[in-house]
């Protein structure tokens, strides 16, 4: 299978077409709300489509874009009923229906033509659960976005030292600097390293919660999703 897209990753790398999609939406949701939804769900939807329907990178991107465009045109997100399912489940089921219809339409067009065989690699990947992958990607995306929020927040509020300590300690794979090493590096007492780290973690948690708040229907669903993230 070819490499995944970088679209939908951290760093505000969303295609500008998303802005136009949001503007075109005849939904009761605000642009900011839609922005949050798409930021969080673009990548999980893309990964789900790739795995479930074994699409190439480009096809999966097109299908994902098509799904969000269709959802916005049909005011789909505004029709979410929290009594029936979580918003996350609602989106996953909708993309499954949408992609299945698109997939079937494509196959009808191809009927009679050359038969496409899956590569061995695709067959192996297809044995993973796309539903699990959707949830995994959703969680990953949530943390990516919140990390970006944390960086912006730190830069805007002069918290470069806090961010530096946090990145050195919590975002490092393998061997990490000790508290005393970090104290020397930043020229502060160890207890301050501890406090800065606690502040960064606390703020990251708050930013994750805010991201969830923007994509859930209320307190009940928010707490259920928080449990899902931190279970």
């Amino acid at each position: 299978m070819d490499a995944d897209t970088a679209i939908g990753g951290p760093g505000g790398r969303f295609p500008s077409t998303h802005v136009s999609l949001i503007e075109a939406a005849a939904s009761g949701l605000s642009d900011a709300a839609m922005d949050q939804v798409i930021a969080l769900y673009w990548k999980p939807v893309y990964r789900f489509v790739r795995l479930k329907f074994q699409k190439s990178n480009e096809d999966a991107k097109d299908l994902t874009q098509g799904f969000f465009a269709s959802a916005l045109q049909r005011n789909f997100f505004a029709r979410f009923d929290p009594a029936k399912a979580s918003f996350r489940t609602y989106v996953r089921m909708a993309v499954e229906r949408y992609s299945a219809n698109q997939h079937a339409a494509e196959n009808r067009q191809k009927r009679g033509g050359a038969v496409e065989f899956e590569t061995v690699e695709e067959q192996v990947i297809a044995t993973e659960s796309p539903e699990l992958e959707f949830d995994r990607e959703w969680r990953r995306q949530l943390f990516f976005l919140a990390l970006d929020d944390l960086r912006v927040h730190c830069k805007q509020n002069g918290k470069d030292v806090q961010l530096g300590i946090f990145e050195d300690y919590d975002l490092t794979d393998g061997d990490r600097l000790s508290y005393s090493d970090l104290a020397v590096k930043y020229g502060i007492p160890e207890s301050t390293v501890n406090n800065h780290l606690a502040w960064a973690r606390r703020t990251l948690r708050a930013l994750i919660t805010e991201r969830l708040r923007g994509t859930t229907s209320g307190a009940k669903e928010l707490h259920e999703e928080m449990r899902r993230v931190w279970k």
Binding site: G9, R140, F143, R201, R202, L204, A206
Partner: protein, 275 residues
């Protein structure tokens, strides 16, 4: 900056831990997890003792504050409630060492011991009801038996708790009678019909789908358990005649043995006089 899966998992773990900055507690380890929150063992630095910290996502308001004021030997005392630096709420409670009821009973099989446990649970529940508090999620996992056999009812419910399947009453709004239902379910989980049909009937009556057919209160439930333990007929069961006779014999065993002995002596004396 890309982040690996292992770093993401680490972030998930460190952001899950409660931020105890500014409190008197030091985190030790996670000891339990429920619908409403996570319980940690922690050390109270000021008093030099270990406590249980229950950390909740929802704020402690209304009834939860009432729960914090409950004082009963069968209810785990709450030392402090508050809000953590990360915005979550917490209770600091006595750290009970012992076993959960469902695990404790695996090693304690006697009916009288199980009924003793039920009595302690019922007494705590009756006290709470008198204070205007209902449990909402009574089940074996929420009852702890301490090292000396003391019983603690834990995890007193707040509004968001919806009960647990098998112990939750069928009605949509939970109240005292729903707790009576859960108490019956608890008794049913401890005692089978083969142990005692009368006790099974008490559990069954407490668990009636029609609320009007249940015991009207926890006290009424306990009174029926009392009657059983005293060898009296229970309100919940119209027992067969043979069972009633057996119960009568069991309650009056000494008298019956004395009567039998008297009859035997009289019989022997009658024959001795004849020969």
């Amino acid at each position: 900056m890309e982040v690996s899966d292992s770093v993401l998992e680490r972030l998930r773990l460190v952001t899950a831990l409660p931020d105890l900055t500014g409190t008197r507690y030091e985190l030790e380890s996670e000891i339990g997890r429920g619908g409403m929150g996570v319980v940690y063992a922690a050390r109270d630095r000021e008093l030099g003792r270990r406590v249980a910290l229950k950390v909740l996502e929802v704020p402690i308001t209304g009834e939860a504050q009432l729960i914090a004021r409950l004082e009963h030997p069968g209810i785990v005392p709450i030392f402090e409630t508050g809000t953590l630096a990360d915005g979550r709420s917490f209770y600091a409670m006595k750290l009970v060492s012992g076993a959960r009821l469902d695990r404790y009973i695996a090693d304690h099989h006697t009916l009288s011991e199980r009924l003793r446990l039920m009595r302690r649970v019922g007494e705590a529940l009756a006290y709470a009801h008198a204070q205007g508090v209902i449990h909402r999620d009574l089940k074996p996992q929420n009852v702890m038996v301490g090292e000396f056999g003391e019983v603690y009812v834990m995890d007193w419910g707040v509004d968001a708790v919806a009960g647990t399947a098998g112990f939750r009453a069928p009605e949509s709004t939970l109240d005292r009678l729903s707790d009576v239902y859960a108490l019956g379910a608890l008794l049913k989980s401890l005692v089978s019909a083969s142990d005692s049909p009368a006790v099974a009937a008490i559990a069954e009556k407490a668990m009636r789908a029609d609320r009007r057919e249940r015991y009207g209160s926890v006290s009424a439930f306990l009174a029926d358990v009392d009657r059983f333990e005293q060898g009296l007929a229970v309100e919940a069961w119209s027992e067969p005649v043979w069972h009633r006779l057996r119960r009568f014999a069991s309650r009056n065993a000494v008298l019956l043995w004395l009567l039998a002995a008297y009859t035997l002596v009289k019989f022997l004396l009658f024959f001795l006089r004849k020969f």
